[in-house]
């Protein structure tokens, strides 16, 4: 009793801060892949939320529109993504209340997210996400990414998580300026198919989001066609019989 009352502030605050830190992620989303095309940004993410090695949630929307000009996609801890969405809600609401006819563009939101992620990392309490931010404002397309430690950059094509290793080589090879909408979707589907084959936490249920000057459209969930009919799979060792 005396021990507790002697230093109440220190003990309580330490426990409090311990219980609110993200030590490890629990429910995670896997990669997000995005690219710039002629009219704007295309982003793809599957709808899986894994709980460790269980594919627990199969209808998680990991891409959301922000304001009029932006689209955010996240991989990593889903609860931290929901927190990020809440922060962005507050931000856009406050901006709307100013009522000055200007709305936040992708560059501003990217900058805000970078500051948030980096500051949380400095407090050893990171938001366990890799966020992909894309948008179009005044004819300018913008695509950027922020990781959980605050690394941020802008590029023509982005991939998080396993997509770093599997999708980035494909995008580096095949992305070009002025892709049409169909070519962009085909390229994204190519990347998502490879991820489906080779990432254990991928689900065959994905959405593709499109943002242009007109606005955001997120497609209905659909599945990719896969091919398993290789003769080596059917009869692996014809020579050993």
């Amino acid at each position: 009793m005396e021990l507790n009352s002697a230093k109440p502030g220190l003990l309580c605050s330490l426990e409090a801060s311990q219980s609110q830190r993200t030590m490890y992620p629990y429910v995670t989303g896997t990669s997000v892949v995005a690219l710039k095309y002629k009219d704007g940004i295309l982003m793809a993410a599957d709808m899986g939320g894994s709980y460790g090695s269980t594919l627990r949630y199969k209808s998680v929307e990991r891409m959301k529109p922000i304001g009029k000009h932006c689209l955010i996609g996240a991989s990593g801890e889903i609860s931290d993504f929901q927190e990020v969405l809440r922060y962005l809600d507050e931000l856009t609401l406050n901006d709307k209340m100013c009522d000055d006819g200007n709305s936040l563009g992708p560059k501003e939101i990217h900058s805000y997210l970078t500051r948030v992620m980096y500051n949380r990392r400095n407090k050893f309490d990171p938001l366990w996400n890799s966020l992909v931010l894309g948008g179009v404002k005044n004819g300018q397309t913008y695509l950027g990414m922020v990781t959980m430690i605050g690394v941020n950059f802008e590029d023509n094509h982005i991939a998080t998580g396993f997509g770093n290793h599997l999708a980035r080589p494909i995008l580096r090879d095949e992305w070009r300026e002025d892709l049409s909408f169909e070519d962009g979707v085909k390229l994204l589907e190519k990347c998502m198919r490879v991820l489906l084959y080779r990432d254990r936490s991928a689900v065959n249920k994905l959405q593709i989001a499109n943002i242009t000057e007109e606005g955001v459209t997120i497609s209905q969930p659909y599945s990719l066609r896969t091919f398993w009919g290789f003769s080596a799979f059917i009869n692996p060792t014809p020579g050993a019989q």
């Binding site: 290793h165 599997l166 999708a167 980035r168 080589p169 494909i170 580096r172 090879d173 190519k190 990347c191 198919r193 490879v194 084959y197 080779r198 290789f230 003769s231 080596a232 799979f233 692996p236 060792t237 014809p238 020579g239 050993a240």
Partner: protein
């Protein structure tokens, strides 16, 4: 009693005697010297007439490139080749050893070696060393039963696949294969796809680099295309060659032939003892 216990070494398998000593040294802060690893991209695929193997040519020792143009496609038999990733010494030694074993087996049976024979030799050896022989291999060849492609992991497990990649650049190369491979490729298409996959590893993985080696094996023929593609040439080479600054004077040029200083002993004497 104690004398006998010391003499006889354990028969076969890995001798774990020094592991305790190593663990103790590690605790005292002594670091093992880094192995020369082949941070690598190696690939193989089956095309309509046989097998194509491909590899990059960079060997790394930690962060340093130890060998800019090493050979990662090893000979096992006239119709079987093997790419190796992992510790360079391990892949060299294991493939050399199995190559000799296959040679002896060919003498014994009088027939062409089968790919599954090489596979069994390799997996038996690697399994008995419980993963300590750090060799990850892509084995490919054509025998009378057809073309075969296998991957072998350091612990001894194997897979039979239509296309395979191993090494640190395997993900980058696999991305290319998964999106572009189909059955029944022609020779040119196959070589093109393998080159693309290795280049993907070279340019997207830090452990792989330099040139592309290719080996095409068909039923009656094999072609080892060493440095088939060299996408990383030295971009600047001084046209003037290396020249001394003007202040350096060459004082004397004299050639001393070394042959006079060597005495030739009668051959045969030393060896006959």
């Amino acid at each position: 009693m104690s004398k006998v216990a010391m003499d006889v070494p354990a028969k076969g398998g890995f001798s774990f005697d020094l592991c305790k000593r190593n663990a103790m040294l590690a605790k005292d802060g002594v670091q093992l010297p880094p192995f020369r690893k082949t941070g690598t991209t190696i690939v193989g695929l089956i095309f309509q007439d046989g097998v194509i193997l491909g590899a990059d040519t960079r060997a790394t020792e930690g962060p340093i490139v130890a060998d800019k143009n090493c050979e990662k496609i090893h000979y096992l038999a006239p119709n079987i080749y093997c790419c190796g990733a992992g510790t360079a010494a391990d892949t060299e030694a294991v493939t050399d050893m199995v190559s000799s074993q296959l040679n002896l087996h060919r003498y014994h049976t009088g027939r062409q070696s089968r790919v599954v024979t090489a596979l069994t030799y390799l997996k038996k050896h690697l399994f008995s060393y419980q993963g300590h022989v750090s060799a990850a291999l892509v084995l490919g060849g054509v025998d009378f039963t057809g073309p075969h492609l296998h991957t072998i992991y350091p612990h001894g497990s194997t897979d039979t696949l239509p296309f395979a990649t191993m090494g640190s650049g395997s993900l980058a190369a696999m991305a290319i294969f998964e999106s572009k491979y189909k059955e029944g490729l022609t020779r040119e298409e196959g070589i093109q796809l393998v080159t693309e996959a290795i280049c993907s590893g070279i340019f997207n993985d830090l452990g792989s680099g330099s040139n592309v080696d290719i080996c095409v094996i068909t039923k009656d023929n094999k072609e080892y295309l060493r440095n088939h593609l060299q996408p990383n040439p030295r971009t600047y080479v001084s046209p003037k060659q290396y020249s001394f600054t003007k202040k350096t004077e060459v004082l004397l040029t004299k050639i001393t032939p070394l042959k006079e200083k060597v005495e030739v002993i009668q051959a045969g004497d030393a060896m006959e003892e």
